[in-house]
Symmetry: C2
DNA sequence: CTCTTTATATGATCATGATCATGTAAATTC
DNA sequence: GAATTTACATGATCATGATCATATAAAGAG
């Protein structure tokens, strides 16, 4: 049965948001088109009216995840204007972020998979990473713009790597230790 | 047709090594049992004489990848005893490592996927990470063992994150920049 | 050298999942 | 309000891939 134009637009948004979360939780290959549609409350048949393929969905959902992620960083930043970097670091390396990949950083959740995805997804990810680096560079201490950019990239890498390691490991104590160690190193680097 | 006991043992080794490489290159879901067997020069039928399931293979292949990876680090270390950490960092962040995931660090190649794998793979990865941290701690400067362990973990995270980001991004210049920035940050931290 | 065992090959099976075909009812259009 | 679209549902299709069943020839036991 047909639905109104705005209902359709809303459905499309829901599909994107849902897919964005599900992909981060289960990986691109762990989620089927039908799974996403079902989670949205629709059936698989209507999918190709919204997207041309699963890859198309993946790329757009990934783009959305990056937008949310970078918005999240901006919010952390403005919530504590005196220590924006500390705010981002401590939220990024929090157990709640580790335990909720579906709402978290797409790089930590899907980074290795993205490297093997099609061009559209790679491009969306590239833009997302560029934006993240720019956002971090803006709040990084350092004399020159180059210095700030270099440490922004290095800190970004540390955040991503620590989150990946902490999620990978099957030992809660080690996982917590990894988050704490990366956090400590990033704090002390702000000398 | 039957083969000798040693031939069989060698086949098993080849399956493990091949799978270890292929999984790192294409991800767990990107490689089928039949693909691995074919790459070894066998057919899919014999697979279950060697392993109880694909998951079983994945866990064992992952364990093997970690062993090789940690051995690789030890070699880099002993190749340049005056600056072991620098040796590891520069090899880890080299373009050749980035461009050859099949022979490289399993965390960077499969980290996000491992977090969603079964218990056996998670355990193998946990042991591998523990060993890597221990290895890095041993060459990390720092007054106390705690300090050395903390910076080992943070540096490990930086290496992993930088490699993941550099592989993800669809822009050669940005990819190189990420490797270089992480390398620079890790060098200057050795003050 | 014969008998038994077994590592692999060949060929199912069975489930999952992407994509397409068709129908229908509700929204738009006129 | 009738005619026309069209978003979605239902139900194929078709390929892929894990796993199992059976056959066979070569290895190892006696």
């Amino acid at each position: 049965m047909r639905v109104s134009r705005e209902q359709m637009a809303e459905n499309r948004e829901r599909i994107l948001d849902t897919a964005s979360t599900m992909f981060r939780e289960r990986g691109f290959d762990g989620v089927g088109v039908a799974d996403v549609m079902k989670a949205v409350g629709l059936t698989h048949g209507g999918f190709y009216g919204h997207f041309s393929s699963k890859d198309d969905l993946a790329a757009q959902a990934l783009g959305r995840a990056f937008v949310h992620s970078n918005r999240w960083a901006a919010e952390a930043k403005s919530a504590e204007p005196e220590a924006p970097l500390q705010a981002i670091v401590s939220r990024y390396l929090s157990p709640s972020h580790r335990d909720d990949p579906g709402q978290g950083c797409p790089v930590a959740a899907l980074g290795c998979d993205i490297a093997r995805q099609g061009e559209a997804s790679r491009l969306a990810a590239t833009e997302g990473v560029r934006a993240a680096i720019a956002g971090l560079s803006a709040i990084e201490p350092g004399a020159t713009a180059d210095e700030r950019r270099t440490s922004a990239i290095a800190n970004y890498a540390t955040l991503v790597g620590a989150l990946v390691l902490s999620r990978m490991v099957d030992d809660a104590a080690l996982s917590d230790e990894i988050l704490a160690a990366a956090g400590a190193a990033l704090q002390s680097a702000e000398a």
